[in-house]
């Protein structure tokens, strides 16, 4: 965890990965994750279902942040993978595959789809990428609506889970969602700790400069785009498993992108912890205000604009700047030996 | 002669790196000042700060009696301050004539127009409808100076007049510059070529590590004295402005 071990004279600087806070933070996160696995034993099925949708938001926020926060790719078309994951699950169960296995397979298929689409959309940058991914999502949605066996435009139910009692089904879905969330967080965490993490942030800050320094921009972007395709596919498939019914207009809807942008901007773009905070906050906002309809969405939009303009590093930056806390050791920090630990701010 | 430009205790930085340090300088109406110094001495940053293209971190810039330190670059142009930037910075997809016209659109009233610029730089006349991006270095420099003149400046700042130009192009650009100066234009020019600089200017100012180390009329200084100041070798001889010894700054920093 830490690379600062050699004895150094007082006042000398050393490079550290983990401070006390991030050691406590990462231990706490591991404990929270373990505790979360026990939830279905303790809480009611309704709460379990709510927590499942919170975890789906968490996955979405983390994936969108991986794209925008680390690779500088603002996607308005991740609903392509959400819908593909959900409809992929339907398609596979219609061919007799066990639904939970189908969820996993459909997520992997989304990753493959992302790899294929990357040939097209990674040619684009900035706003062109944003709208380009959106067009792809619209095209895939139209293809799905053409297929009557997938319910056409009216929607379709997930079959094959009726054998389970509702509590058991919800618990299984919850555990699978939690497993996906943990897996994706760990994957991203490893990616950021690896040398590529620094390269990715360099790309986000200035793609051309990073390329001129020998950062191989394309493979890194591809890697994150495929990871995000996998994660968003899983989120879609798990949403289906949680609600058992989907309609193409909503599962392929651009509102998913609005949610993701809101969560990441409010939490803190380009930080590991930000999207987690954003997802929890968004879940709460949705829980209390979703019945306000249009006003609720106006509020979300205004909040996104306000955060982008006035607090571009999100709520997490407030904590990070004031308390110098970092829950997870994903950066490097200069630390004066014998001095009070102060983590440098590592994000822009 | 009236003071046209008065720089007082100016600081400018690139990030944390100081490029111009506590610099004071005055330019009077009708003067031609050659600003010399090694790479990284802060000459370009000084000109850019005066023109408003770079923020001042401290001190003031006064132009014709008004404090313009916080004024936006485009407003300084309308007051009569024009910078020919390093690297020419033409608008590559506009023609030569369009480059001139853009600058002339909000110009102060004055003698310069497309026709008078083309008279002053005859080499531009045959290429006036060519894309600026397709020109040679000398043609670009002439266009860039002409573009600055279109704003009818009272003070013309020229950064790196001959950098990257073929010798014949330098001759031609200097021919036009000399004519301008002879007409009484107030000019500050940054030039790496000392002899060139001293051949056209009334006064030579040498910068080292963001400070003025030599400021003297051209007639009162030898080329060697300027060279010494240039590299920070000891105290240059006769100077008419406060000079700090380079020894006071033992850690040379390059910007």
């Amino acid at each position: 965890m830490t690379t600062a071990a050699a004895p150094a004279p007082p006042g000398a600087w050393s490079v550290q990965r983990a401070g006390l806070a991030s050691r406590i933070g990462s231990s706490a996160l591991v404990l929270v994750a373990i505790a979360l696995f026990a939830v279905p034993q303790i809480l009611s099925a309704n709460v379990v279902q709510q927590l499942t949708s919170l975890l789906v938001f968490l996955i979405l926020a983390v994936m969108w942040n991986a794209l925008a926060g680390y690779a500088g790719l603002v996607s308005v078309g991740q609903q392509a993978f959400i819908g593909f994951g959900a409809y992929g699950t339907i398609y596979l169960t219609q061919r007799g595959i066990q639904p939970y296995l189908a969820v996993v397979l459909a997520s992997l298929a989304s990753a493959v789809l992302a790899a294929v689409l990357s040939l097209l959309v990674l040619r684009l940058r900035g706003g062109q990428f944003a709208v380009g991914t959106w067009v792809v999502a619209e095209a895939i949605a139209l293809f799905v609506m053409l297929d009557q066996s997938l319910g056409g435009g009216t929607g379709v139910s997930l079959q094959g889970l009726s054998g389970y009692a509702p509590e058991v089904r919800r618990a299984f879905t919850y555990w699978l969602t939690l497993a996906f969330a943990v897996l994706l967080l760990v994957l991203l965490f490893l990616l950021l700790r690896h040398r590529t993490g620094a390269a990715l942030q360099a790309i986000r800050d200035d793609e051309d400069a990073a390329a001129s320094l020998g950062v191989r921009v394309r493979p890194l972007k591809l890697m994150l785009f495929v990871l995000a395709g996998f994660g968003c596919g899983a989120a879609g498939a798990l949403t289906l498993a949680n609600t058992l019914f989907i309609q193409p207009q909503s599962i392929f809807g651009v509102q998913w992108s609005a949610y993701m942008i809101f969560m990441v901007l409010v939490g803190g773009i380009g930080t590991f912890e930000g999207p987690i905070i954003g997802a929890v906050l968004f879940f709460a906002v949705q829980y209390f205000f979703a019945d306000q309809g249009a006003w609720y969405l106006i509020g979300l939009g205004l909040a996104a604009v306000a955060f982008a303009l006035f607090l571009p590093r999100g709520l997490w930056s407030l904590l990070n700047d004031r308390l110098h806390v970092q829950l997870l050791p994903v950066g490097y920090h200069l630390r004066r030996q014998g001095a009070r630990p102060r983590s440098s701010s590592r994000e822009t | 002669m009236a003071d046209l430009l008065h720089i007082s205790h100016l600081d400018a930085r690139h990030g944390l790196l100081p490029a111009v340090r506590d610099l004071s300088l005055t330019v009077s109406d009708g003067e031609a000042v050659a600003l010399v110094g090694a790479n990284g001495a802060g000459k370009s940053t000084l000109l850019r700060t005066v023109a408003g293209a770079h923020p001042a971190a401290g001190g003031t810039v006064t132009f014709d009696g008004d404090d313009i330190t916080g004024l936006a670059a485009h407003r300084r142009v309308t007051r009569g301050l024009a910078l020919v930037p390093e690297g020419r910075k033409l608008f590559p997809d506009l023609t030569v004539e369009e480059n001139l016209l853009v600058a002339g659109r909000r110009a102060r009233p004055g003698p310069w127009s497309v026709d008078t610029v083309l008279d002053a730089f005859p080499l531009l006349r045959p290429i006036r409808h060519k894309r600026a991006g397709s020109l040679s270095g000398g043609q670009q420099q002439a266009t860039s100076i002409g573009r600055a003149l279109m704003t009818n400046p009272r003070l013309l700042l020229v950064d790196e007049v001959s950098l990257g130009l073929a010798p014949v192009a330098v001759d031609s650009v200097y021919e036009s510059l000399t004519a301008l100066i002879a007409d009484g234009a107030t000019v500050v020019l940054v030039e790496q070529d000392l002899s060139r600089a001293m051949s056209v200017a009334d006064r030579v100012v040498c910068m080292l590590e963001g400070r003025v180390v030599l400021d003297t009329p051209v007639g009162e200084v030898t080329r060697d004295q300027v060279t010494d100041a240039y590299f920070g070798l000891g105290r240059a001889g006769t100077t008419s402005a406060p000079v700090e010894t380079p020894a006071a700054h033992p850690t040379p920093e390059r910007t």
Partner: protein
Amino acid sequence: MSWINALVQGLFLGGLYALFACGLSLLFGVMRIINLAHGDLAVLGAFGVWWVSDRADVSPFLALLAVLPVMLALGYALQRTVLARSLRGGELTPLLTTFGLAIVLQNALLQIFSPDVRSLGPSVGSLSTGSWKITDQLSVPYLGVLILAVAVGVLGALQFLLQRTGFGREMRATAQDPDTAALVGVPAASVYARAAAIAVAVAALAGTFLALHSTFDASSGPTQLVFAFEAVVIGGLGSLWGTLTGGVVLGIAQTLGAQIDPQYSILAGHLVFLVILAGPRGRFIATRRAHA
């Protein structure tokens, strides 16, 4: 023969898409911003025209004359407030703010005007329904001709503005190098604001013709943004005339797709876009500079 008719209808539809595209193209050319609220601003314009013509009981064209100056002012204010600030935040910030703005606009329109589907077609009578019958199967709709003529007129006027006027030169100079433009006296902020004003007003014009041509509701914006973007990319991000070509290609792709099966209409447009993107031209799109 019905195929030729589809081709002709596609040409006119393309005029509408080109009209949508040129505002988007202008802002991208001058500021390198893709305005994700472009479609919603167009729909806002359409609602404005609908509201004025409904309240004052006047023709939509008269109402448009009242709405256009308002949209000009709105575009100017939008740039001076939100966009100028987001431009300073880096390349991604304008995307995030314009997307947020799009969500706000859509839902505000939904809240104010209800989700009802509207059309301005009925209020212009035979202009929206009438056509010149060339043969039994080939007809040329009045409105289609009008839209195409307006699109060509607007594109031509923009082209003239950019190439032949002092303000156009300032826009092109600022697009190429805003810092140097300031050094020759061009106030980039004001040039940007006027470009945004024009883009928003043209978007409102496009929204009005959409409302005359077919129907619109509070959620029509995003689709129009996607079509506009497709037209810009198919046209090659080059000149404004390229945008017209792109719009026409998209329009024809959609009507020919619809000729096979109405369900294929929009999909056919998306596929043409993706093919262009996959082709050799796509490789240049990301790197090529747009000339406003």
